[in-house]
């Protein structure tokens, strides 16, 4: 279970004289294992910040987060390791999360087809290979909650199909939290939902209610390139 109690997040600029900018205000939420929650919000509404709070990449400025369940890093998140080779990075992630490095490497090679890139530096990888690697590592590791920031897959159609199959498997045993501004994505993968608007999170038991509320407060259309992606999956 992950509990957020009156969580506020402020961003300070580089100037000490300017007042901090409040991104999230008084967030209260209880996320139980097995919950499939969509967080809907427009650009700059604080979705990514909320995901970073949930997985522990960021600490709240005030308030409390009680994390009794494990949460993944946002699937597809780049992480560290620009100077490491792909094999070293996989080993690093495996040690971090107490998973057998060899098994994780075999899984990543088999699933993402990166065997030829194992000895190459992460920084020198093509964007497509890097995206495959980051997505597959996100799905492979065991977590109680899987977090997604706008995307659940990457790369070409066949890889996307495999990712969706993995996602369905993970959904059976774990919760997912999907931050998106695309209602179609939310309704496809989630049962309940929340809307981030003006820094505040409003939660709904049914994702349809969240979408209705989201459409009423944020009528903007998604960008064309992203729209194509959402349609494709």
């Amino acid at each position: 279970m992950i509990v957020l109690e009156n969580v506020n997040v402020d961003y300070r600029g580089y100037s000490l004289l300017k007042p901090p900018y409040r991104v999230l205000t008084g967030i209260n939420a209880v996320l139980r294992p097995g919950d499939h929650v969509a967080i809907l919000g427009g650009a700059g509404s604080g979705k990514t910040t909320l995901l970073r709070l949930l997985c522990g990449l960021k600490r709240p400025s005030s308030g409390r987060i009680i994390r009794e369940s494990s949460a993944s890093f946002p699937v597809g998140f780049g992480g560290a390791g620009g100077k490491m080779t792909v094999a070293q990075y996989i080993h690093f992630v495996a040690v971090c999360y107490a998973v057998d490095p060899k098994r994780l490497r075999d899984f990543a090679v088999e699933f993402a087809g990166i065997e030829k890139a194992l000895d190459r530096r992460n920084a020198h990888l093509e964007a497509d290979l890097k995206a495959r690697l980051n997505v597959v590592l996100g799905y492979a590791l065991p977590f109680d909650f899987y977090l997604f920031d706008n995307k659940v897959t990457a790369s070409d159609k066949s890889f996307q199909r495999k990712c969706l199959a993995l996602l369905e498997m993970r959904k059976r045993t774990s919760g997912i939290i999907l931050a998106t501004r695309e209602p179609r994505l939310a309704s496809r993968f989630c049962r309940s939902g929340g809307v981030l608007h003006n820094g505040r999170l409003t939660l709904f038991n049914h994702v349809e209610d969240a979408i209705t509320f989201y459409n009423s407060v944020s009528p903007t259309e998604p960008r064309t390139s992203e729209d194509a992606y959402y349609r494709a999956i």
């Binding site: 997040v9 402020d10 961003y11 300070r12 600029g13 580089y14 000490l16 901090p20 970073r52 997985c55 522990g56 990449l57 960021k58 600490r59 400025s61 009794e68 494990s70 949460a71 890093f73 780049g78 992480g79 560290a80 390791g81 620009g82 100077k83 490491m84 080779t85 070293q88 080993h91 690093f92 992630v93 040690v95 971090c96 999360y97 107490a98 998973v99 057998d100 098994r103 994780l104 075999d106 899984f107 088999e110 699933f111 000895d119 799905y139 492979a140 590791l141 065991p142 977590f143 993995l166 498997m169 993970r170």
Partner: protein, 274 residues
Amino acid sequence: MSLSTFTDPRAHERNAYVRGFRNWSAALRALILREIWRHGRTKWTMFTFALQFLEPVGVIAAFGFIVYVLLRVPPYGPSTILFHATGIVPYYYFIRVSGRTRSFEVDRANRLPCSDSLDDFLILCFMDFIVMSVGTVILFWGLSIFVSPLAIPIDPWACVTSVVLVSILACGINLVNAAIIHLTKAWVTILIVLFRGLMLISGVIFVVDFMPPNIRFWLNLNPLSHAIMWFRMGIYPHYPVHTLDKAYLVWFALGSLVVGLAVERATRNFEDGQ
């Protein structure tokens, strides 16, 4: 291969503190591995680690040569090389451990959630401390064979305490520097000049106690000069340490660490492009 092959062995640990400690220790192990791999260009790990210690060795040799050519007499003791080595080593502990601010800043934006940015920082400092320690042992072992038998410390505890305190001091200053660099990148350039200048006012190339009283007063405000005196106390049996104030160094080191941690906490939520 099925996803069910991956299970978290820590998931069923009931005690939250034990689970947290295991997570933390796993993250630290992974960060140490990452640092080793980053230093090494795959197969050249040990060589690149050794390269890190070549700069202080070069500085010791250069100072030794210059003083030998100009003065012919070492500032203290029988060997010019050994005297400068006893000053350069604590100074480079300070430079190396406090000089990783920039990479700490870079890592801050790219880390995985299993580790905190402070974990990254601790590991960076720890790895530099280990590299310097291994290099120092090899250096003094070599000096004892080729330069002077005095290079084997008569009081190793004094040498160890000195370099540990210097490293703690460097950690604190590193954290403060990281916060300042967050505000202005120009601080990196200023730091390079400041750190190089520090060598001239820390008693690396002279004996502080042999200086006139008014200069000695100002030199003694620098905690690094106390650390170098303490280090030399462990090497030379009768090194003059009348102005050595151990308590000053201890409190300065611990104080800088506390201030550094407080500054890190206060500036954690500054805008960092995340």
